[in-house]
Structures are given as C-alpha cells and as structure tokens.
Amino acid sequence: MRQTLRNLLPPLTMAAVFLVGWQLLHVLAKADEISSPAETVALLVRMMDTARFWQDVAETGLAFVWALLLSMAFGIVLGVVLGLSRPTGDAVEPILVAFYSLPKVTLYPLVLLAFGLGMSAKVAFGVMHGLVPITLLTRNAISQLKPVYLRSAQVMRLSRSQVALKVVLPAIFPELVAGTRIGFSLSLLGVLIGEMFASKRGLGFAAVSAMGLGDIKTILAIGVFLAAFAVAANSAMLMLERSLRHKSAAR
C-alpha cells in the first residue's frame, strides 16, 4: 500500500503543478478569456447534461470506431504481407515512412474532393492517420520475429496457416497491441480534424465553431473531455501491453 502511494505521489505532484500553472494563466490573462480549471470542469459537467453533447460524442465515436477498425484490419494485413516478403517490404517501407512524415493536412483537400462532406470523409481522415503507423509497426514486429521460432515450426513440420496463426501471431501480439494503441490515438486525431472541415456534427465541429466564436471556455471543456478519454484509453492499452511483455521478458 505504501509503495502504491509512493508511486502515485510524483505524478500527482506534477498534475498539481500543472493545475496551478493553469490557474495562474487564468488569473494573469485579460478579463477571463482563459477559464480556470474549476470553471472548465463546471462547464463540462453542464455540457454533459445536454443531449446535444452526447449526440456529438456519438457522431465522433461512430466515425472513430470505423476508422480504427479499418486501420487495424488493413494495417495488420498489409504489415504482415510486407513483413513476410522482404523485397516488397523494403521497397514499400520508405514510401510509407515518407507518407507518415508528410503533413497530412496537405492532402485534406484531396480527401474532401474525393469523399465529399460527411461521415465517409471523416472516416477517411481517420484511416489516413492511423493506417500507416499500424502497418509499419506490424511489419517491424514480423521482421524482429526470432528466426528460431520459424525454424522450430519448420522442424515440427507445421503447415503455413499453422505457422501464421499459432506461431507468428502470438509472437507478435504485444507489438500488435502497441500498434493499435498508436493507431487509436492517431485515428481519433484524424477523425476530429475531419470533423473540423467536413461535418456539421461531432466534437471536432463543436470545437471549430467555438473557435470561430472565440469561445475559449467551450474549447477548453471539449479539450479536457477528449484529453481525459484519450489518456484513459491509452493508459489502459499501455498496461495491457506491459503485462503482455512481461511474459516475454527476461531474455
């Protein structure tokens, strides 16, 4: 018990420091342009009481789930294909890496022109952000697969599907979770950005409307909500990843 408290103290202290800093900003800024932590939370609670808020959440959520599932499905399959075929993988990887470092905003007009406005554009944005990291991480995981596992499978005379499902997939599972975790964050980002341009609904749209009106309070409230959700989900997946890795640890 004492150990848990000792572990929690430093992060809690830093969180407190952050909140104090925020409060200071609020005090120092002109005429309550930046709402204080307390005001922000109060507003968020009020917003969560409205139907409109949850409609927005549902809208964003639906697009996000679609984007994540598509990113994972295509990303894992593509990553496996590129990982298993060395020459193809080596040729395609630089292209994917280049795409990853490209400011995707550069391609937004293209997506909008191709998909129009609405759900499909949002999902496309999400997939655009989430697909490549999942692919690259899956491919990496496969190429780092210990060769001795494949040789053992060969000696045990396993069929190709047995090798893929019973050896390769379990071996790279921790990396798949890592890829999903990153794909999760990026797909969410993509969907939110998509909503800023291509939708009249959703949290992204709510945020950009508030931006247009100069309504910092609302922006902060939405931001806090998204941050809390993202951090919670990310931490949960991180814990899962760590517990999986411990099984494979101590090499």
Binding site: V148, R151, S152, Q154, M156, K166, P170, K247, S248, A249
Partner: protein, 279 residues
Amino acid sequence: MISAEPVANIGEASGTVTARLRGVTRLYGTGSARLHALGPIDLDLRKGEFFSVVGPSGCGKSTLLDVLAGLNPPTDGSAEFEGRPVKGVPDGVGVVFQEDASFPWLTVEANVAFGLQQAGVDAAEVERRVAYALGFMGLRDFRKAYPAQLSGGMRQRVCIARTLVLQPRLILLDEPFGALDQQTRLIMGDELLRLWRETNATVLLITHSLDEAAMLSDRVGVMSARPGLFIELIETGWPKDRDSRIVADPRFGELTGRIWEKLRVETMKHMQSQGMGHS
C-alpha cells in the same frame, strides 16, 4: 584410439547406418563472390550412436546440421535418412537449437504439447507423452510456469522436452548449451546422455567445446576451418552408462589433447582470416 573396452559398447552392435551424407557441399552467393562454406562431406551415422562435431567458428557445422535436418538443401551432394533421401524435414527427426526456442506466450506444459497438438495427435496421448517428458526432464513442478520465469538451462530443458515428446529417432543439437555457464553445461550434458540412453535415438551434437565432445560422444568428428571438412574421426570407446564424472578418467585428457592438437591449427587459421578480412 586404443581402447580396452569391447567395441560392442560403441553404439549399437550391428552398426547399421541410419543417416548418410555423400559429397555434401554448401556454397553461398554467385560468381566471384561465391563463398565455399562447407564440404564436400562424407559421413555415415550409425544407428543409436552419439556423434559430436567439433570445429572452429564459421566452419559450417550448423550448415551440416541444416542439411541433415532438411532445413536447407546442399548445393551439391546427397543426404539420406533411414534409406530415404532427405527432402524437407523427415519424419522422426528432432532439432534443438542454440537460441532459446521456447514460445514465451505458452506455459511450459503448452510448449511441450505444442508439436503434438499441431500434428493432430489425440488429447489423451498428448497428455500421456507430455507428462512423461515433463517428468523425465525434471519440469513437473514448473508445468504451469512461463518460460520467462525460468533460467536459461530450464528453458533449454523445455525445448528438449518439446523435441523428446515427438519421439524422434534422430536428435540433432546445434550448440544447445552455448548460452549456459560451464557447470550448467556439465549437468545438461548428463541429461543429454540420460535422454540418449532412454530413447535409443541417434544423436548428432554440434559443439565448439572439446570437453563436451570428448565426454559425451562415441565418436568425434573434428572439422577444419572454412570450408568445413572432416579432418579426423576419433572413436572414444566410452561405455554407454557414462556421465560427466568421466572428466576424472586419464583417457579424457588424452582424448581432449588429441582433439585440440587437430583443432588448434584450424582455429588459428580461422582467427587469422577474421583479422585480415571483413568480420
């Protein structure tokens, strides 16, 4: 090697040949950059014998094992097991690798059962064989543990158990104890002898340790530096019920000395080539 022991104690008295290599050669690459890694190798493995291959690093010992196991075909020459040419991994061959091949996502029990289950053996038989192998390798107390919780030596036992369970007639080991400390190696050597006696399998052990080869084997094949060729075949004449305490026998020193006499020159050749060439 003059031995006072009767010849009948070396492997099976009949001396039937269970695996045969003829002119096995391995070349890598093409054109002017062709690397002659191994051979030509001729070898007759007698059924039930314990045969070790010792040689300097990079002499192609592992390649030899790959050819015999059907993991990699030779560039030239032929390999035969139980009278049939080796194409792919033959039935009845088991391999233990140097690196830890235990699957970290499965328990010890599940690891050992894995090969059997994938081969479609029925559950009752799997359970029986797994229980036997676990007991034999001293893993019964650890059946529910994960490999990550075990020491290196224990993990190799898991790999050996996983091979044992498939009832191989030829067991190939590629420097299986390379990653372990000396004392553990000696104990594991004893385990290997126990396994060999119990299964009556033919064993081919690849090692860079002269002691190990001299202590464990019926015959030792000394390999030259690359390209690997057998430069000496030594009969040890040890009784079948031997163990690591054989180190006290003066003949052990003679054998080791004889192996080193041949090996020393080859090892120096190898080190020179490493220093001058690219690593």
